[in-house]
Symmetry: C2
Subunit: 493 residues, 2 copies
C-alpha cells in the first residue's frame, strides 16, 4: 500500500496523483478529462457540502435548480462572458441516435438536429439572469439570494484529478440587489464565508484579496478571492466571489421599480467553490505516508484496530471496542471498528494512515489486562499509551481531535508565513520564484501589460491584491514605475 | 392568489400546472422541456433527499459520482439498453464556439468536432459498469453498494413540470453482487425502501409489484416498482428497482474470483427515484385552495400570522410569537413568523394555504388578552381556538402534526381503495376506465400481444403484477385465455 507512494520531495505532482488514486478519492474515467469521485472521496465532499450549505442558509440564502443547458444565444448576451467561456464549451447539437443503414452501429440521427445549439453550462449566470427577469419586478422582490449545487463543464485541455477537470461539481450563488453597496457587501460577505470555511473546517489558512483586471471573472466588475499555498510553494485559488455590477442585469434587461417610483437595473453577485477544494485539502496537509485529514472533515475521526490471536481474544477486544464506540458516538465522534480477519494489523495501520484517519486506537490482550489503549495521531505520527482509568475517554479523544485540527492549521499557517516574502528587485523576484516559490509580496505598477509580461517571463501571476494591503510607496518590480502598495505574486495551480 | 386557481373537477391538468407555478414550486425555463425548480419547490426536494439518503446509508450504501457524459460506443454495449434510450439522447458533438467570420455572431467551431460523440447520461449503468470492471476483482470486493445523486437528460417530446422533463434530478443506485439471490434481495429491498419512504414521509400509499416484460427497464431482467394513484384516477409510477441479472456484467466483462477459485460474472441491480416524486406529492394530496403538504416534508410546518393595528400591538404579538417559536423549535418543529407589513392577514392566509403549510397560528389583541391562539389545519381547512393555559403548546402542535400526517395518508388510502376495482369482463373494464379510471384488477393471459392490444384500445397499461398477487384461476379480460391471477391496469402518467 502506502510504501509505494512516491515522495513529495522527489515528484510532488506524481505524489499527488498517486495519493488521490490510492486513498480511493477519485480516478480518471473513460470519458476524457472527467473523473469518477469514489465513495471515500465523495464522503469528504459531502462533509464540505453540509458545512457550506449550513453557512449559506445562515446568511439567508436558499437553494434552487436551473437547467443544465444554455441556449447558445443566451451565452452570447454578455460580451466578455462569452469571450471568456467560448473556447471551452461542450455543445449539444442533436437529440437522437439511430441504427446505421447496415444495422451494424448506432449513429447520430442527422434528422434530429437542434434548431439552436445548446451549451452544457460552464457557469449559470446567463440562464439564471434570464429567469430573474421574470422574478424581479419591484424592490419588494429584492434581495434575491439563491444558491445552486450543480455540475458544470469546461472543456479543459490539460486536466488533473480535482484540480482541473472537464466536468466538476460546485455550488454557484447568484444574488440580485437594489443597490450597488448591498451587492458589494454580499460579494465581500461570501468571500469571508469561504475564508471562514477554509480556515475552520479545512484547516487551510487563506489570503483574502481582490483579483487584478486580467484575472477577473468574465463578466464581473470585481472578483474577490481566497488564495491558499500548497506544500510545493504553488498557490491555489480556493474560491471566488464576483461583484457583477449591472452587467448581467443590462444583458438580460432586469429592472426593478424602486421605492421612490423609478425603474432601475438590478445589481448582482455570483460566487462559487468546487470539488477543486478537495485538491487543496489533499495538497495542503498530506505527507509521504498518505492523506492527513482535519478531524472536522474526516469521514471517520477514529478507527479501532484489534490485535489478537484467535476468536476468543477477538471477542474480548470486540466487547471493549463496542463500549468505546458507544461512548465516542454519544459525544458526536465518528468511529469505525475494523475487525476484518482478512488483513493483518500492520496492513490496517498503513491503510488508515494512507486514508488520513486522524486518530487510531489499537488494542491487544495486554491492553485489556492493563485497561489501556494505544493511541496514534495521524498528523504527527506519534503514539502514546493511554491509561483508561485515569481519564474520561470521550473527553480525551474530543480534545485530541480539537488539538489535531489546530495543529494542522498552525502547521499550514507557519509554512505559509515562511513562504511569503517581500521582494524588492526583479533579480530577487526571479531567484526566489525559481528556488522556493511561495507568495512573493512585491510592488506592481498596476498595468495589465506589466502583469502579462511578468507571467510570460516567469509563469507567476498576481494571485490577489490583499484586502489588508498597506499603503506603501514603492517601485514596480518589473517596470520601475511608481506603486502604492504590494500585491501577491505566485505560480499557481 | 389562490382564488384564481382552476378547480380540479373542471380541468385537473390545468389545476396541476397552475398550482406548480403559483405555489412557487417550479416553472418552465427558456430551454425546451427543462424546468427551473424554485426555492420553495427545491426545499421540499431537499427534505425528500435527506430522508432517502439516510435510508440508503442505513442499508449500507455509499454515495459516489460518475461522469455526466457517456461515450456513444458505451451506450451501445448492452443491446436492449441502447434500444431503449437511443431515441431520446442529447448528443454532444463539439467542444468549442468561435466568432463567425463577419464577427457578428458566435458559432460552433467546425474544427472542434469530437472524435466520438458523447451522450448526456439518460441513466448511468454503462459508464458505471465500465468503472466497476476496475473495482471488482474478487468476492472480497463484493457487494458493491453505491448510489449517486445526479441530473439526467431524456429528450422527451411532451413535457410537464416535475412529471416528465427533459432534464430531471434523481438518485440512481448501482450495486454488484456475488450471487443471483443476493442481487434479487437487494432489488426487492430497495423497492421496499421506496415504499416505506412514500408511505411514511410522502403520506402516499403505494402498490408494490413487478413490471410486465413490455414495461421493464431497458437492460433489466426484472423491474420492481411502486405505483400510486392520483386524484384524477390515473396511476403514477413513483420508483423502480431493477434486477439486472448479469446483463451489464457481460456487456462490460465484469467478472470476479469466487471464494472457491472460479471466475464468474457479477450480478447487478439499479434503482432510482426522481423529482417526479414532487409531481406525485402535489397531485395526490392538494386541493382547489392549493398545496397540501404532509408535515414530514413541509419546509415550514407552522406559520404564525399576527393580526394587529399599529406598532404597539405588533410588538406585543411579536413578543408572544417569539416565545412560541422558541418552544416549537426546541421540539424540532419548523416555524415561520410572517410579520411583513406589506400584506394583510387575509392575503397571508390565502398564501399559506396555497403553499400548503400544515398548521397556521393567528394571533390578535384579543388572543393576547385571553391567552389563546387560533389554530387552522391546512388539510381539513378547520379552525379551533386553543386556550394556551390548558395545554403544553409544543406537545399539542407536535401531536396535531402527527395527526395531519396520518389523516393525509388515510385519505389517500381510502381513495385508492375505493378506486381499486376487480373487473371481470371486457365491457366492465372499458366502462370503468372511461367513467372513473382508477386501478382495475383483472385477469390477463400473460402475453405481450394482449397487453399491447389493450393499451392501443384503451390507453391503459399494466401498472404491475402486485407482489401480494393471489393465485386465482380466471380468464383474460381481453383474450379469454386462462390466467392464474389478477394484475393491475390503469391509465398512467
Amino acid at each position: 500500500m502506502s510504501k509505494g507512494l512516491p515522495k513529495r520531495s522527489e515528484d510532488y505532482s506524481l505524489w499527488y496523483n498517486e495519493l488521490v488514486k490510492r486513498a480511493d478519492l477519485a480516478e480518471n474515467s473513460p470519458v476524457r478529462g472527467c473523473m469518477v469521485i469514489k465513495p471515500y472521496g465523495y464522503s469528504i465532499w459531502e462533509k464540505m457540502q453540509a458545512e457550506l450549505d449550513r453557512m449559506f442558509k445562515e446568511t439567508g440564502h436558499q437553494n434552487a435548480y436551473f437547467p443544465l443547458f444554455i441556449p447558445k444565444s443566451y451565452l452570447s448576451k454578455e460580451a466578455s462572458h462569452v469571450e471568456g467561456f467560448a473556447k471551452e464549451c461542450a455543445v449539444v447539437t442533436h437529440y437522437r441516435l439511430k441504427n446505421s443503414e447496415d444495422g451494424k452501429e448506432v449513429i447520430v440521427d442527422p434528422d434530429a438536429k437542434l434548431e439552436e445549439e445548446l451549451i452544457v453550462r460552464p457557469t449559470s449566470e446567463t440562464v439564471i439572469w434570464s429567469t430573474y427577469k421574470n422574478w424581479i419586478q419591484s424592490y419588494r422582490d429584492l434581495p434575491l439570494l439563491v444558491n445552486q449545487w450543480a455540475n458544470v463543464v469546461r472543456w479543459e485541455m490539460r486536466t488533473r484529478l480535482f484540480l482541473r477537470t472537464t466536468e466538476f461539481l460546485w455550488q454557484e450563488g447568484h444574488t440580485a440587489h437594489a443597490t450597488r453597496n448591498e451587492a458589494m457587501d454580499e460579494a465581500v460577505q461570501m468571500m469571508n464565508v469561504y475564508a471562514q470555511f477554509a480556515e475552520d473546517f479545512m484547516a487551510l489558512p487563506v489570503v483574502k484579496g481582490v483579483k487584478s483586471e486580467n484575472e477577473r471573472f468574465a463578466g464581473a466588475e470585481d472578483t474577490f478571492c481566497i488564495e491558499a499555498l500548497m506544500q510545493d510553494g504553488k498557490a491555489l485559488q480556493a474560491g471566488t466571489s464576483h461583484f457583477l455590477g449591472q452587467n448581467f442585469a443590462k444583458a438580460f434587461d432586469v429592472k426593478f421599480a424602486t421605492k421612490e417610483g423609478g425603474l432601475e437595473y438590478v445589481w448582482g453577485t455570483s460566487w462559487g467553490v468546487s470539488t477543486r477544494l478537495m485538491g487543496a485539502l489533499i495538497m495542503a496537509h498530506s505527507d509521504d505516508n498518505g492523506l492527513v485529514l482535519p478531524p472536522k472533515l474526516a469521514p471517520n475521526q477514529v478507527v479501532i484496530v484489534p490485535i489478537y490471536r484467535g476468536e476468543e481474544e477477538l471477542d474480548k477486544i470486540s466487547a471493549k471496542a463496542k463500549e468505546i464506540m458507544a461512548k465516542l458516538r454519544a459525544k458526536g465522534i465518528s468511529v469505525h471498528f475494523d475487525n476484518r480477519d482478512t488483513h493483518k494489523p500492520g496492513w490496517k495501520f498503513a491503510e488508515y494512515e494512507l486514508k488520513g484517519v486522524p486518530l487510531r486506537i489499537a488494542m491487544g490482550p495486554r491492553d485489556l489486562e492493563n485497561n489501556t489503549i494505544e493511541l496514534a495521531r495521524r498528523d504527527t505520527l506519534t503514539k502514546e499509551t493511554v491509561d483508561l482509568s485515569a481519564i474520561v475517554l470521550e473527553d480525551y479523544i474530543a480534545s485530541k481531535l480539537d488539538e489535531i485540527q489546530k495543529t494542522i492549521y498552525n502547521k499550514a499557517l507557519s509554512f505559509r508565513k515562511e513562504m511569503t516574502r517581500e521582494v524588492n528587485t526583479w533579480e530577487e523576484f526571479q531567484e526566489m520564484l525559481d528556488k522556493e516559490g511561495g507568495f512573493l509580496s512585491a510592488h506592481w505598477d498596476g498595468t495589465g501589460e506589466t502583469e502579462e509580461k511578468i507571467k510570460e517571463l516567469t509563469k507567476a501571476t498576481i494571485r490577489c491584491i490583499p484586502i489588508d494591503q498597506k499603503e506603501e510607496d514603492g517601485k514596480c518590480i518589473y517596470s520601475g514605475k511608481p506603486s502604492k502598495g504590494r500585491v501577491l505574486f505566485a505560480k499557481a495551480y
